[in-house]
């Protein structure tokens, strides 16, 4: 519960620091980008507090580059 409160407060602080200036200067593209990434960030943090164990995202890179890695190790370029 405390964690979620911290997340909410931090998000509020970030919005309060950034949003008024962007509204004043009418940077609407910036606002959309800002909100989109903030939502992703909050989502990840919430997922972390709710589910204890999140698989690491680099395993996706691992799957893609595994064959290349095998190929390199055949030449002894990776040990």
């Amino acid at each position: 519960m405390l964690n979620i409160a911290i997340i909410a407060v931090s998000a509020a602080v970030i919005v309060w620091l950034e949003l008024p200036r962007m509204l004043r200067e009418q940077e609407y593209r910036e606002i959309w980008g800002f909100i989109a990434f903030l939502v992703i960030g909050i989502g990840i943090s919430l997922a972390q507090t709710i589910f204890n164990d999140i698989p690491t995202p680099v395993s996706l890179i691992t799957i893609v580059f595994k064959p290349f890695s095998h190929w390199l190790s055949m030449f002894g370029l990776i040990q």
Binding site: A36, I61, L72, G76
Partner: protein
Amino acid sequence: MHVVKISLRQVSILTALYTIGSAILIVPSGMASIAKQDAWIACLAGSGLGFIILAVQLQLFRKHPEANLMQWTEKLFGKWIGKTVNLLLLLTLFLGGPATVLHEIGIFMTIQMLPETPIQAIIFLFGALAVLGVRLGLEVLARAAEMLFPWFLLLFLSMSILLLSEIHWEHATPILESGISPIFPAALSFVSIAFLPHIVLMVIFPGAVNRSAEAYKAVYIGSLVGAAALFLIIGLSILVLGPDITARNMYPSYMLAKKINIGNFLQRIEAVMAVMWFITLFFRISLYFYAIAIGISQVFHIKNYQPLVMPLGWILAAVSVFIYPNVPFKLQWDATIWVPYTITVGFLFPLVLLILHGLRKMLPKKSKKQSDSA
């Protein structure tokens, strides 16, 4: 938004710090475990290879110093494919670059200095620092680098000099004990950490240097300084600790700092020396992160990248906490996946761009169609 311009000297310093950051911590151990006492030879070979790679990366920059990597991709692959490629590149770089380096400093601190502190605390604090730096912009980062680089040099050189009395030359013999074959994988692992990630700089520097035509030279100089520092640290690890202990230790360069003992008086100064890794790792993370922030703002046509920095920094810190489940996973990742990934991104990718660019020049009329249909 005003136009960012940094000087050639600042380019060199940033490049040097970027080269040294994170490599100074992890490279000696990884190379000594592959090449044993010949790690220094592998470092020389790797540096040679690194400059060839750097030449490929810098080729486009030299031809058109005002367009960065993101713009080249969109121009040569076409708008939509280019954007997709750029997004993929930025996403994977984000995970493999700043997120892992941030985790790395967390591991380092929790292993060596603050073992019972939760890694989150270190990651959030260091991440906040990077966010602050990146939000303030490249000029501020560059000036900070200019200020901090002498401190880094002072610490680094004093550490090297204080260790001279501990050197055992016989640790380096026999040279090439198991032949030349372990040199290649060791050199490759060196290049994958110290040189291939320089592709990130091709997002940052184009258009941001005041004498852009000569900027590539400054990158070369910075890389040379960085490679020399790494050579020194690898050599010292081997000569002072011996190849076996270098390979066995997670952070041999920290162990080196622990070995400093001048007359039982000047000793136990490793915590001071750790400032050196903080400086370099800060710039490593910040430059990665800056490149990703301006890259994303370019892909989505956002004029001002600054509002994106805090949300991106949040994602960075949050992801960084669980990017490596444990230390053996990290070692495995560094050794097997990071190498092919950086070869793809740092060498093959610019090479493909270069070839496409060459083809376009040869077939000036057809190329427009090709890139649309590709």
